[in-house]
Symmetry: C2
Subunit: 123 residues, 2 copies
DNA sequence: CCGGATCCTTGTCGATACTG
DNA sequence: CAGTATCGACAAGGATCCGG
């Protein structure tokens, strides 16, 4: 049987905790970020991002985010193979939050990661 | 030798990625959340939160967040033992982001975690 | 080739016991 | 009370394999 571990164990009834139960890892929000920047991405395009996610991690995150209806598969006429992902309404709603995170990092993390770009240069 | 691994390996120069290199786990932002709600917390008060963080994880996160200057130790006259933590300016700056996350979860995650509370205005 | 699935190694998490 | 040590479980990460 497929590893269909869609069951999330919610640690509490706190909404902040619940958001972290879902997005509290190093990769999920990065996938959302790519979809904010590029509108749509294929599997191999995700792999081209500089952070170099592993194929199995990417697949599991795409499954989870699809299940949560934050992203969805789309058929692109432009692509030869019709399999790309893009944000749903729910995923789009994360856009200002992720931009704020980037802005915050530029203001408070430059000391520790000096090479980091400012947010305007990336988004 | 002590595990003094304060070195963070930044995956890229992207500020969003950098913020996740630091806060992209299930516990760091929950510690910040507690300090937003309560102003200051002691070690054992953190342990009382409903999500039940393990003691070693709590200690390592408190160290990391202190090193990043997002939280700081304070001496409380009110407490018999003078060891509590509170947010710095940098940590305070996360407040609107965390509130937005809670609001987002209430709007887009209730379907999956039905018992979840709605975020209240006072938080 | 592209989109994954599978195997395997390594590292981190997390529960609990223990210490100053 | 504020952490540290230990150890098993499990997830991450790398490499490779496979179906279309």
């Amino acid at each position: 049987m497929k590893k269909n571990n869609k069951k999330i164990d919610w640690r509490s009834i706190c909404p902040i905790s619940s958001s972290l139960d879902v997005l509290g890892d190093k990769w999920s929000l990065l996938i959302i970020r790519d979809l904010i920047i590029h509108e749509s991405r294929t599997y191999s395009q995700f792999l081209e991002s500089p952070e170099q996610i592993a194929t199995n991690i990417l697949a599991s995150r795409l499954n989870l985010l699809s299940h949560l209806k934050l992203i969805e598969r789309v058929n692109l006429k432009s692509a030869s193979r019709n399999n790309a992902y893009q944000l749903t309404k729910g995923g789009e709603a994360l856009k200002p939050i992720i931009k704020s995170l980037g802005k915050w990092a530029g203001e408070h993390l430059s000391e520790f990661n000096p090479n980091m770009l400012k947010i305007n240069e990336t988004l």
